[in-house]
Amino acid sequence: MNIAGIGIISTRGRGIDSLDIALRQGWIAPSQTKSHSNDQNVFYPAYRVKKETINDITILKKIRRADKFSKMAVMAARDAVIDSGIQINHKESEVGIILATAFGPHVTTFRFLDDIIDYGDGSVSPTTFSHSVHNAAASYISSLLNIRGPTVTITQFASPIHQSLILAKAWLTEKRCKYVLIGCVDVCGNVMEYICNQKLRIANDGKIRPFNFSASPSSVPGEGSVFFMTTLENCQNKYCEIIPAYITNCDTIEKSDINIIEADGMAGDETSYQNTAPVDVFAGGYSPIFGSMKIISAFHCTVSALMLKKQIRYACPVQDNPYDLNLITKTESAEIKQICCIRKNCANKTDIIKLIR
C-alpha cells in the first residue's frame, strides 16, 4: 500500500513543509496551560494546535459549527488529497475514509455532559450533541470533499493507526475502493490534561525523553491530525510503501536503516524498549516535537515518509541517550531504504509499521 499524499496538523503548524521546518528546528518548549483544578496557580505543559493553524477561512465558512477535532480532521484530509495530486472521480465511490482516534472528540463530549448538569437535558445545545459523536469528523470530510465511498471511524485505545491500515489494505485489495484516506486525530483538553496529571508523570520541563526507557516515564500531552492518501497503484507523488505488523518478540524485528522508537510517556513502563534499537541501526524518536498521544504512530509514519522521500535523516529533537544508542544526532542527507516505527502499546504488544522506499 503506497502513501500518495500527506496532510498534517500539529502544534508546529499545518502541512508537510511545516513538518520539515519543525524537524530541522528541533525541540521547542510546549505552551503552559492553567490548571482547572482547585489550585489555579498550577500550570501544565501541553503541545496544543494553535488557533491560527486551523484558521482557514475558505474551509471554516463551510464547517463553522465544527469543533477543533473535526476542523483538524477536515484540514488534514483535504491537504492529503491535494498533496497527492489525485483527481477524485466524485461520481463513483472510489475513495474510502478511515478515521482512527484513541479518545474521539472528548472535549465536546464532556461539554455536552457538562451542559446537561448545568442547564438540564432540555437545554442542551443540539450542535454540541451532534459533534459529541465520534463519527462527526468523518462525516464532515465526506461532505466537504464530496467523497462517496465507505466511511468509518475506528476508536481504539491501543493501536488505532494499525487497525486503520489493516482495514484500508483489505478495502483496496477487495477493490472496494481505489484510494483510502487514512487519518488519525486526537484532541487535548482539560480532561486529558487532568488525566495525564493524575495517572501519568508530566514532564515539568516540557521534554519527553524517548530514549530513557524509564519505568515511570514523563509525558507532555499533545494533539493534532495526520491523513494519508493511500492506494495500491503506483502514483506520481509517492512517498513510500506502508506495511503494518504486530510482533511478540523484538528479536524478530526486520533490520531497517532506521528504527523509530515511539516512546512518549503515554503507555507507562518503557523499559521494554531497550531491545528495540540494535547498535548497528540508527535510532530516532520524534515524540518531543508533537507531544504524547495514543496516535503518535501516525506522526512518526509521517516523519518516516518524509525521510524516505527526501532521503534525509532528521536529528532527534531530544538527544538524552543513557543507553548509548546509535542516535541520529544531526540532520543530513542519507540513503534510506526502510524505516521501522516501533511502539509498545498498552495491550502489551509491539506494533510495527514498516515504511519502504
Binding site: R65, Y119, S125, P126, T127
Partner: protein, 91 residues
C-alpha cells in the same frame, strides 16, 4: 415604562449579538457588525434552521424564555430588533 424599555433594549441587543457570534460560531463577524434591523436568516446574516434551534436554547439558558411554537419563532427571529423586543417583553 416606554422610557425604561428604550434604556434596556440596547443592552439586550448587545448581549444577543455577542451570544449569536459566540455560540453560532459566526466566523469573521464581530458582534458590533450585526445591524439591529439586519435579517438574521437566509440572505441576511445567513443563519439556517439549525441555528434557529440553537437560538431557542440560547434564549432559554440566558433569559429563561421558552419559544415553543416555531411558527411564532419566524417572526421573533427576524432580526436583532424583533428578538430583543421579544426578550424584553418576556423577561
Amino acid at each position: 415604562m416606554e422610557d425604561q424599555k428604550e434604556m434596556e433594549l440596547p443592552e439586550i441587543r448587545k448581549k444577543l449579538k455577542e451570544l449569536l457570534v459566540e455560540n453560532l460560531s459566526l466566523e469573521g463577524i464581530k458582534p458590533e457588525e450585526i445591524k439591529d434591523d439586519e435579517i438574521l436568516f437566509g440572505e441576511g446574516l445567513g443563519l439556517d434552521s439549525l441555528d434557529a434551534v440553537e437560538i431557542v436554547v440560547l434564549l432559554q439558558r440566558n433569559f429563561g424564555i421558552e419559544v415553543k411554537d416555531m411558527k411564532e419563532g419566524q417572526k421573533i427571529f427576524y432580526s436583532i430588533d424583533t428578538l430583543a423586543n421579544y426578550v424584553y417583553e418576556n423577561m
